[in-house]
Symmetry: C2
Subunit: 97 residues, 2 copies
């Protein structure tokens, strides 16, 4: 699993639709997005979406995964921001200055 899977799934879950999530939020083609989601479901061993003609709906597992995925993604962004912030205070190491 990679962060791409989380980003893709969150976008699909929020849009409730693979097509619009692909072109209006992720800027990738629908086939790519569809396969990434399939791969994620396969790795988890469970379906996350219920596909329909009017879009997609989350399964129970999908709803649970969505909540956790959002937190995980925010945590990653927090990690990057924290590192940048620390770097501004002490550009190299604690033994400088």
């Amino acid at each position: 699993m990679e962060l791409r899977h989380l980003r893709y799934f969150i976008a699909v879950a929020e849009e409730g639709n693979l097509t619009v999530a692909a072109e209006k939020r992720l800027f990738v083609a629908q086939p790519s997005l569809s396969r990434q989601i399939r791969g994620l479901e396969q790795e988890l061993g469970t379906d996350l979406l219920i596909r329909g003609a009017r879009g997609v709906e989350l399964t129970a597992a999908g709803r649970v995964f969505l909540d956790h995925a959002r937190i995980a993604l925010l945590q990653v962004e927090a990690a990057a921001e924290a590192a940048r912030h620390a770097a501004r205070r002490k550009p190299r190491s604690s033994s400088d200055f």
Copy 2:
């Protein structure tokens, strides 16, 4: 940034050494690991490691990033486990049964 970067960095930080982290924990070649770490530092805009002949040492930013990266990775694993657990309770959707 991808989860691979977090996994690689954590292994290097814990081993204090690129070579041993590569072959004893990540099972990849050192050059691959070195480039991934470089790419991560470049994306963050700051150094995470101080390279030396006896291995590597963490910068201040590296220490901060390590703490957050560990949490993020655990959160991702928790997301997967939560989804699998939810799937065992309700295999498809809430409207089943």
